[in-house]
């Protein structure tokens, strides 16, 4: 079956819920295994020659930062799905992803601050990378507030989709902020031209933790989407009951 037809088939929420029932247990087991392996590798990884043991914060901070952006990327695709294809699950996907993205952005900011204090001598610096990630966090909170404020789901979906697309300009700014401006934050050391600059003894635990965080995010996203479908079903039934009562 072509990819577009497969995506269209998932437009049926009942079919999507059946898929969630199958995928969630598999993803949960995979996430637990990956975290177990990742944490053992983190415990065995060496201290950095400059940063010492504080480098262990990297194994949380970097995956959380990647996922803060990845989740917003998912929301951007979903926003296109809402505005261009009017896919019934597109807004469900975007709305369900927002609190998860906000949580990962918060983890990234918080652990970054805890890493920055001993290494840079400051909890916070208003430089391009830190500020653009803070803007991402505020965007997430703004979107959550927008969905809660507008009662009609169709109006809320369109308004949120437009705001998500406008906010997606921030993603390349976050990524390239360390190259475009002077900053305390180190430049990219994994996804860069010329390959990673991190030693394999630290790179592998980092990559395993990143995959573990990604499967965790996908599991939580599917579960949050399931909740959102139920929420919309309850709303529709409530309206139907009110209509019957008239």
């Amino acid at each position: 079956m072509p990819l577009l037809s497969q995506i269209s088939a998932l437009a049926n929420p009942t079919r999507f819920l059946s898929l969630v029932k199958v995928l969630v247990p598999v993803l949960t087991v995979l996430t637990l295994i990956l975290f177990a392996v990742g944490m053992v590798m983190v415990a065995r990884s060496p201290a950095d020659y400059q940063q010492g043991e504080t480098v262990r914060i990297m194994y949380l901070h970097v995956p959380a930062a990647w996922l803060a952006m990845f989740t917003y990327g998912i929301m951007t695709v979903a926003a296109l799905g809402t505005l261009v294809w009017r896919h019934p699950l597109a807004d469900v996907a975007a709305k369900a992803a927002a609190p998860i993205g906000a949580a990962f952005t918060f983890i990234s900011l918080f652990t970054g601050s805890l890493w920055g204090r001993p290494m840079w001598g400051t909890w916070w610096e208003w430089d391009a990378r830190l500020t653009s990630v803070l803007v991402l966090f505020i965007m997430y909170l703004g979107l959550i507030a927008l969905w809660r404020t507008i009662e009609d789901p169709v109006t809320a979906a369109r308004a949120a989709a437009v705001l998500i697309l406008v906010g997606s300009i921030n993603l390349p700014i976050i990524k390239f902020s360390v190259d475009w401006w002077n900053t305390l934050h180190q430049p990219a050391s994994v996804f860069r031209m010329g390959g990673p600059t991190i030693d394999p003894s630290m790179l592998w635990p980092l990559l395993i933790m990143a995959v573990a965080f990604t499967t965790l995010m996908l599991t939580l996203h599917l579960l949050a989407m399931r909740n959102e479908i139920l929420r919309r079903r309850i709303r529709a039934l409530g309206l139907m009951a009110a209509g019957d009562a008239r």
Binding site: T14, A47, G52, E53, T54, R56, I57, L60, H61, A64, P99, I100, A103, F106, I107, F110, T111, L114, W115, R117, P118, L216, L220, L223, A224, R226, N227, L230, R231, R233, I234, A236, L237, G238, M240, A241, D244
Partner: protein, 67 residues
Amino acid sequence: MIDTLGPYAGFILASYAATAGVVLALIVWIIVDHARLSRQLSSLEQRGIRRRSARSAATLTERTDTP
């Protein structure tokens, strides 16, 4: 354990504790939300308020059950 993490052990442990706390809070929120929504949905269904597709499926079952 704390000794092996060096002079900044507090910062490292606080990072791991905060991450675990946020992830756990997310998981609990999703589970509690699901339980609440499932309760609301089944209460509506008990009152006979069903989706059209569920209603037609129920009618079809009743018709098939009738001898």
